[in-house]
Symmetry: C2
Subunit: 371 residues, 2 copies
């Protein structure tokens, strides 16, 4: 029995990423690949340095193509079932880095159909509403409006459906059953949905009238979605989509990925800064029972959610991060102070993000793909 479960809909247990790479059949991003990426990008993003983006499929091939003068486009997305939390931002921030580094177009899919079809409690209007709410967060990450195309599956179905049925014609129920675990009781919309999620790997090539390599930066739980796409691609005369995979930012509770279904352990981009600070003050840490004991024996940053937040997103300086780790271990840094430090960073981040998010309301239509 595996000690952890990773599917597009569920992440459970303590994820062993090395095992997952073997289980999924992806490859670890190695030093040679990092060097090649650094050459083109100028510098390596913190997410690469820290192994947050750690796995790939065919990224070496994408760089070969790029070096031969063939540019790729980026494709990532979001299932709009609620407000954005900071965990969602990680692949988006990284995608923005890739857009800048490679001057790449980005197609950003809002899978409002999937969320509606999968979640019993979600109305279609709610899902469409969250598409717009979440798009504001995407735009706030600073993407280039001239090179970024956000679309909702429902609103953009005209173009997507046409490509999706071409994928669907080559994808049997047996295949999606094996990959996603669909059953007789699964609804026929969610059975079809993998074709809608595959479509953006290919429709930009259709729109431009030439085969364009596709690179998908996303959390590794989304990998199964693109397995049928990779199988079908050559049958339709397209390149197989390449991928870069990241880990999950943990929640503020004990273990598990940050999940909107546990809002008290989750920092939403729409949280009032003080409310977010309060959640951090209640976070699970690697501290001891008493301050006295912690001063004597030190804390354990390796199991601490607060430390993870510095590591994943809120402390860019390796030096300062190392300092936090060291002073926690030796008992100098006490949890209360450490949480306050993080809370300040998060509050500052939220104030800044929310300002950008407000501004995004004026330009959202420039980003939405319609024709």
């Amino acid at each position: 029995m595996p000690r952890f479960v990773v599917t597009p809909w569920e992440v459970k247990g303590k994820v062993d990423y090395d095992k997952l790479v073997k289980q999924f059949g992806t490859k670890l991003i190695d030093h040679a690949l990092l060097k090649r990426l650094e050459k083109h990008a100028g510098k390596l993003h913190m997410f690469l340095e820290r192994g947050i983006f750690f796995s790939h499929r065919d990224f070496d091939w994408i760089l070969n193509k790029y070096e031969e003068g063939e540019k790729f486009f980026l494709y990532t997305g979001r299932g709009p079932s609620g407000h954005t939390h900071v965990g969602h931002l990680i692949p988006w921030i990284f995608t923005k880095y890739l857009q800048d580094a490679f001057d790449a177009e980005l197609y950003f899919q809002m899978t409002d159909d999937e969320k509606f079809l999968f979640r019993r409690d979600l109305d279609l209007d709610d899902a469409i509403g969250f598409t717009y709410e979440n798009a504001l967060d995407v735009i706030a990450c600073g993407f280039d409006p001239k090179k970024t195309f956000i679309f909702s599956d429902v609103e953009y179905a005209k173009t997507l459906y046409k490509t999706a049925i071409q994928v669907a014609k080559h994808t049997t129920f047996s295949t999606v059953k094996a990959v996603f675990g669909f059953k007789g009781s699964s609804n026929i919309g969610i059975i079809f949905f993998p074709a809608m999620q595959a479509a953006p790997c290919f429709f930009p090539s259709v729109l431009k009238g030439k085969n364009i390599p596709c690179l998908i930066p996303a959390a590794i739980d989304q990998d199964p979605y693109w397995r049928p796409s990779r199988d079908v691609a050559p049958k339709l005369g397209f390149y197989k989509p390449a991928q870069l995979h990241c880990k999950f930012i943990p929640g503020l509770g004990k273990g598990g990925k940050m999940s909107a279904s546990q809002p008290e352990t989750c920092i939403f981009t729409t949280d009032a800064p003080e409310a977010a600070a309060k959640k951090i003050m209640n976070a699970f840490t690697g501290g001891r029972g008493t301050v006295k004991e912690q001063r004597e024996k030190g804390g354990n940053p390796d199991i601490c959610s607060v430390y993870q937040y510095f590591y994943f997103l809120f402390e860019e300086s390796d030096k300062k991060l190392g300092e936090i780790y060291r002073t926690c271990k030796n008992g100098e840094l006490i949890c209360g102070d450490c949480k306050k430090m993080l809370a300040e960073k998060v509050k500052k981040f939220l104030v800044d993000h929310q300002r950008k998010r407000e501004k995004a309301k004026n330009v959202i239509q420039e980003f939405m793909l319609k024709d």
Copy 2:
């Protein structure tokens, strides 16, 4: 073992329509219903008098609603996998009669997605091409451009997909497996398709912002498609779609429905009139081995494809039709002469239809639903 098979994709053997009505669970159109219809329509269409439209679901309810002042819309369609043949025209001609009689709007679906997904040999561009070819035949039937909205599933997916996923959310794989016989090897597009075919039962109500009764005139082999729609309708707050069912016009060969897969037994609306006449001269009849024998013993119109053509479409006068039947039976009318008589009628029909079809090219855009 049934002696005949009727599914949306296959009609095989000599169809026993009484048995089919029991098997499908529909109702025969009885005398009382015909009287009610006649009262509203002014006169009964030949297809009703002759029992070509013979079965229904909830047509009595549609008339109740109509009499209470609640108008219905019409919905029918076509799978654009090839050119239109005269068999396809029967439900369309009847739909035009209903449009005039009840001043009803018509939503006409071109299921180019279905044909592409179902037919291994059909390109999507071909299916879309036939959408336009077939739409010319629909328009040539004389529908009111102000009240008739033709749409292709692929081109109109934006609106259709939104309603289709609402149907899909309430339709399981087990259901479509039972109704359509889907298997593990079925592709995920065709599994989803029943939701696309259900969508036009409901989206006009969505567009108009109120619940509007829907009446579907179509050949009875299409009935299974609307069973899931009828199950789902109340869950979505819509009326169940009502239906009027017709029989199949036979081919010019021995037995079986007219089918484009046997072009030599099939009169296409695009056939050159002389070519159509030639097909008729080669048709299977109820004649005898020699003229002499036929003069003596008479022919058998009951098994004769030529007689069926008069009956279904090409002889509106009951008196003349009776005359053909009688003189065939008693040996006065010889097959060669009878075929010539039909060929003349068909040629005249084709010349007229093709003229209208040419004119339709100028107005097709007025009929195509886009927004």
